[in-house]
């Protein structure tokens, strides 16, 4: 099958593999092998999340620290319903079955092994669980094969294999799935993950390389959730996916060594704050608790974003004085326009806004009539807690 994206790149390059499992045809009423697995709902947002990630990768193909060379994608799409993400792929996209993942995944692994210094990008979204504390994502043929009811990918095992891989320079893995504890699955010894990497027992004795990052939407026993992209919207994607893409698009960028980059460690540490800033409409009823299952040793950038703004949160000290002030961001320590940004709502909560990464330091100004109080800051990273002392 042709890849969704394929081009020649000279030098280090990224090989991406994206999987979205939104359809579980053998795990619905009246279908499949085991009666216990006939109530798994379809998950359109998982399929759409994978499409969103594909689009993001292609849009940012030249901004990736190692430019995108190949992108393969498998999506199990549930029957069309309303409020779906419009997406017209350039090639036919196959479903995320054990067979397809095994074949195409192995091809991806082989592409990674050709040129030393290349970068692996892996993303998956679907129903998930934890198995022996490893995050897993279930594939489309869940409950179809009596020998292997629980067809799945084991992200922990994949990251282990990539940590033992001796030629890739970095691997970035993302899993937007629940870490649910399922007793029946946990107790099954024959829960064989879908393999798409060589089984090298000798590698156990070799040193692990610390350039692999695995970010998961939810730790063991935690659930991951979908959410609308905008307040009032009916279009849903994985919350973890949306927040990660927001960070990768620049909201989690730092200035280092002459460039703006996003690395997985900064991204992980920013995720909860980014979710609060950009996706407040998801509310507080469900936890958002992403975690880093495997952390890389070095701060390797995944992407050098462009045309972005950095989040900025301005709070008075003390916080209860917020309603007594208007606020502005200015290049000058003067309580008069022109502003870069301003807010005159006098709400009780922090003022959440964004700023362009600029050349000079800026002032956050709290204004009460003719009196004003300011604080200098440099917009060279996300600022989730910019205090302005007021009386």
């Amino acid at each position: 099958m042709p890849l969704l994206f394929d081009r020649e790149v000279i030098g280090p390059k990224t090989h991406a593999f994206v999987i979205g499992v939104g359809n579980y045809p053998f795990a619905r009423a009246g279908q499949g092998v085991s009666a216990k697995l006939r109530a798994v709902p379809a998950l359109p947002s998982a399929a759409d999340s994978a499409k969103l990630v594909c689009n993001w990768l292609i849009e940012n193909k030249d901004r990736l620290a190692a430019p995108l060379a190949t992108l393969d994608v498998l999506i199990s799409d549930p029957p069309a319903t309303e409020n779906r993400y419009p997406w017209v792929p350039a090639v036919r996209v196959d479903s995320a079955t054990v067979s397809n993942v095994g074949t195409r995944g192995f091809a991806w692994y082989q592409r990674l092994s050709v040129q030393p210094g290349d970068v692996a990008f892996f993303y998956c979204c679907g129903h998930g669980a934890s198995h022996l504390q490893q995050p897993v994502v279930f594939l489309e043929d869940l409950n179809s094969n009596p020998i292997n009811l629980w067809s799945h990918i084991n992200l922990g095992e994949l990251s282990y294999r990539l940590r033992k891989h001796q030629t890739i320079s970095a691997a970035f893995l993302f899993s937007d799935a629940c870490g649910e504890f399922i007793p029946q699955f946990e107790l099954i010894k024959q829960a064989v993950p879908c393999p798409f990497y060589p089984d090298e027992t000798e590698s156990m004795f070799s040193v692990s390389r610390n350039q692999v990052s695995l970010l998961c939407a939810a730790s063991e026993n935690q659930l991951a959730y979908e959410g609308p992209d905008l307040a009032g919207s009916h279009l849903k994607f994985g919350r973890f996916t949306q927040t990660c893409l927001k960070g990768l698009s620049g909201s989690s960028a730092r200035y280092s060594r002459g460039r703006w980059g996003v690395n997985s460690r900064d991204l992980q540490s920013d995720l909860k704050a980014l979710r609060r800033i950009y996706f407040e409409h998801w509310g507080d009823n469900e936890p958002f608790d992403p975690y880093s299952a495997v952390t890389p040793a070095d701060l390797i950038p995944l992407v050098y974003p462009e045309n972005f703004e950095l989040p900025l949160v301005v709070i008075t000290d003390p916080p209860e004085r917020m309603p007594y002030y208007d606020f502005a961001i200015s290049e000058r320590n003067v309580p008069a326009p022109p502003w870069l940004k301003n807010n005159a709502t006098r709400g009780t909560g922090p003022w959440i806004t964004t700023v362009t990464p600029g050349i000079n330091a800026l002032y956050a100004i709290a204004i009460d009539g003719t009196d004003h109080f300011s604080q200098l800051f440099q917009p060279k990273e996300p600022l989730f807690e910019q205090w302005v002392s007021v009386p």
Partner: protein, 617 residues
């Protein structure tokens, strides 16, 4: 005259990058460690510079300073902890006063110190019609408690911790310190467990390392929601903290610097009896295996000698067995796998790991061994294979709710009701936020909301249950209430040298009796809480505008002994420092500002407009 610069980085810096630069060039860029924090040059161009300090794994802080021509310019930065609490990523060093401030000085102009040429993507100067981001309006409040328990001799049960703690508060941040206990023999392995509980969120536990020099527990409340509260556990000693930072967030270059500047230094051997230092070095030698050599195995021997009770010790040994067998004969590899299994089994017997990286290693080793056994099952003794299967099953069963924060391994308390009714392990998501005092030393109880920490007074029942202490014991009682330690610099409080005149209100008439002195004012404000039985009391000390308050300046607040803790060090931010309490009943608050030698005092029950719940109880 030469223009000289003598620069000293924060004294509490463990390991991190320091860059000193002006608008044209960088004049210094190095990875600093506790013994390598200074930079000096006798040939520096005058003008505005800034130092960017980035400890491993933390966000950077920038301090601007002005190098004056023909002078010896000495720049000594305050502690990184103080910079962190300043509320700004930027501060300014005043060379005349030798202190760091957030106030913009006259010599600074924003275009005098631009960042290196960033590209600009959109034009400045426009006022957006509306903000794209909605500000949350509902403030969520959660009760929080922290407590310590200690393993009983020879048993896997935990009882009340018999040590001490002390506390400092910053805006949105709380720092608790467990000082080194010189009487404790680490070889006995009486482990200490920290429990934190957040109302309607979780109960989280971890084993607490008792580092030489003390252990610091930091609680940070993000500005958005209390559910995102962050904990961190680090050694007080910056050299030991460098090991933790390097393991958790260090780059290869930082780990190498830690190796050369700390671990391989002769004087560091003195720390070899600290079992957690040995654990950290051994874990570093596994994570950064290319940087460490066989000579570093001395730490493994130290670990085996001093910490045979620790889970981490045996996982490290298992890992070493396997890596030593790389490239060896099949039989040697089979033997290594068998030895690793034995070690992992011993690890399990020891309980839970201290470090998250140990847990990751355990999972990685178990996975590798399971695969190895599949293809070499006949080469491993059946009894060893069975042992591995048992440990794999038990591993899974015992740690289903694992979590972690920073480098620390933690686990969540399970929901016993759901476990009984549905036989599913689920975290307890509805805790009260309180800890039972019968087997736990409560070191902090309070309430958190977005960016705020409020100290809670003990309930009336618990206060009434114990008779009031005798007058001469009142001071001791204030600190003994929950094992709170008399802070090192607190003996400077002049009030302590004065007699207690009112045993029920021990601070009364011991702090000068005035709410205003030398221009400093103690302000008190009351707010309603969810309970009719309590009020929020906001105590604010406002410094006079003419007074230069530097970053790191602080005030001591002494509360009624029924608060846990009752003596609290609170940092200034800008011209004021603030402490939030939830209380019932009247009592006298005493304040001591050591830098300015100012005392303030307020009897809450005597204030005009005081709520009845404060005045009448």
């Amino acid at each position: 005259m030469k223009t000289t610069l003598n620069f000293e980085a924060p004294s509490d810096l463990s390991v991190g990058t320091i860059r000193i630069q002006n608008s044209e060039q960088s004049i210094a860029d190095w990875i600093a460690t506790p013994d390598n924090r200074t930079f000096s040059t006798e040939d520096v161009s005058p003008g505005i510079y800034w130092a960017e300090v980035t400890p491993a794994g933390l966000a950077p802080q920038s301090v601007f300073f002005n190098v004056e021509e023909g002078k010896t310019n000495t720049v000594t930065l305050p502690s990184f902890s103080s910079l962190l609490s300043s509320g700004s990523k930027i501060s300014f060093f005043d060379s005349d006063k030798q202190q760091t401030e957030t106030t913009v000085p006259p010599w600074f102009t924003s275009d005098a110190a631009p960042l290196p040429s960033y590209s600009e993507w959109s034009s400045f100067g426009t006022t957006p019609a509306s903000e794209m981001i909605k500000t949350p309006t509902v403030e969520v409040k959660r009760r929080i408690s922290l407590g310590l328990s200690e393993e009983q001799r020879g048993r896997e049960t935990f009882n009340t911790y018999r040590g001490e703690s002390k506390i400092e508060m910053f805006s949105g941040r709380l720092e608790l310190q467990i000082p080194e206990d010189f009487e404790r023999d680490h070889r006995l392995g009486h482990r200490v467990r920290l429990t934190s509980t957040i109302e309607k969120v979780r109960i989280e536990r971890c084993l607490l390392p008792l580092y030489l020099g003390g252990t610091q527990i930091m609680v940070t409340v993000p500005p958005f929601a209390p559910d995102d509260l962050e904990l961190s556990i680090t050694p007080v000693d910056p050299r030991l903290r460098a090991l933790v930072r390097a393991l958790d967030a260090g780059t290869s270059a930082e780990a190498q610097t830690v190796r050369d500047d700390i671990i391989h230094k002769q004087h560091f051997i003195a720390l070899s009896k600290d079992p957690w230092a040995a654990m950290l070095i051994c874990l570093l030698s596994i994570r950064f295996s290319e940087l460490f050599s066989v000579q570093d195995d001395v730490w493994l021997r130290s670990l085996t000698e001093h910490a045979a009770w620790a889970f981490d010790t045996y996982v490290i040994i298992a890992s070493k067995h396997l890596s030593a067998a790389q490239g060896k004969s099949s039989q040697q590899q089979h033997d290594a796998v068998s030895q690793a299994i034995e070690s992992l089994a011993k690890a399990q017997t020891a309980g839970s790991p201290y470090y998250r990286y140990t847990n990751q290693l355990f999972a990685e080793l178990s996975f590798g061994i399971a695969n190895y056994i599949k293809t070499n099952v006949d080469a491993i003794t059946p009894a060893i294979v069975r042992r591995f299967e048992r440990l794999n099953t038990r591993w899974h069963r015992e740690l289903p709710l694992q979590r972690g924060f920073g480098p620390t391994f933690s686990w969540l308390a399970r929901d016993l009701n759901i476990l009984k009714t549905r036989e599913v392990l689920t975290p307890n998501r509805t805790p009260s936020g309180r800890l039972s005092a019968h087997n736990t030393l409560v070191i902090f109880q309070g309430e958190i909301s977005a960016g705020k920490i409020t100290l809670l007074r003990a309930g009336q029942k618990s206060v009434n249950a114990s008779p009031p202490p005798a007058r001469e014991n009142l001071l001791e009682a204030a600190f003994a209430f929950s094992g709170q330690l008399l802070p090192e610099d607190s003996p400077e409080l002049p009030a302590f040298s004065r007699p207690v005149l009112f045993p029920e209100d021990p601070n009364k008439e011991r702090f000068g009796g005035q709410m205003e002195s030398e221009g400093f004012i103690l302000k008190v404000k009351f707010e309603d809480t969810n309970s009719r039985e309590r009020k929020t009391v906001i105590l604010t000390v406002q410094a006079p505008r003419a007074t230069n308050v530097g970053i790191g300046d602080f005030a001591w607040f002494l509360l009624h002994p029924t608060f846990s803790p009752s003596l609290i060090k609170v940092a200034f931010r800008g011209q004021k420092t603030q402490l939030r309490l939830q209380a019932w009943g009247g009592f006298t608050v005493g304040v001591w500002i050591p830098k300015n030698k100012v005392e303030l005092e307020c009897d809450l029950s005597n204030l005009a407009m005081v709520p009845d719940i404060i005045k009448l109880r």
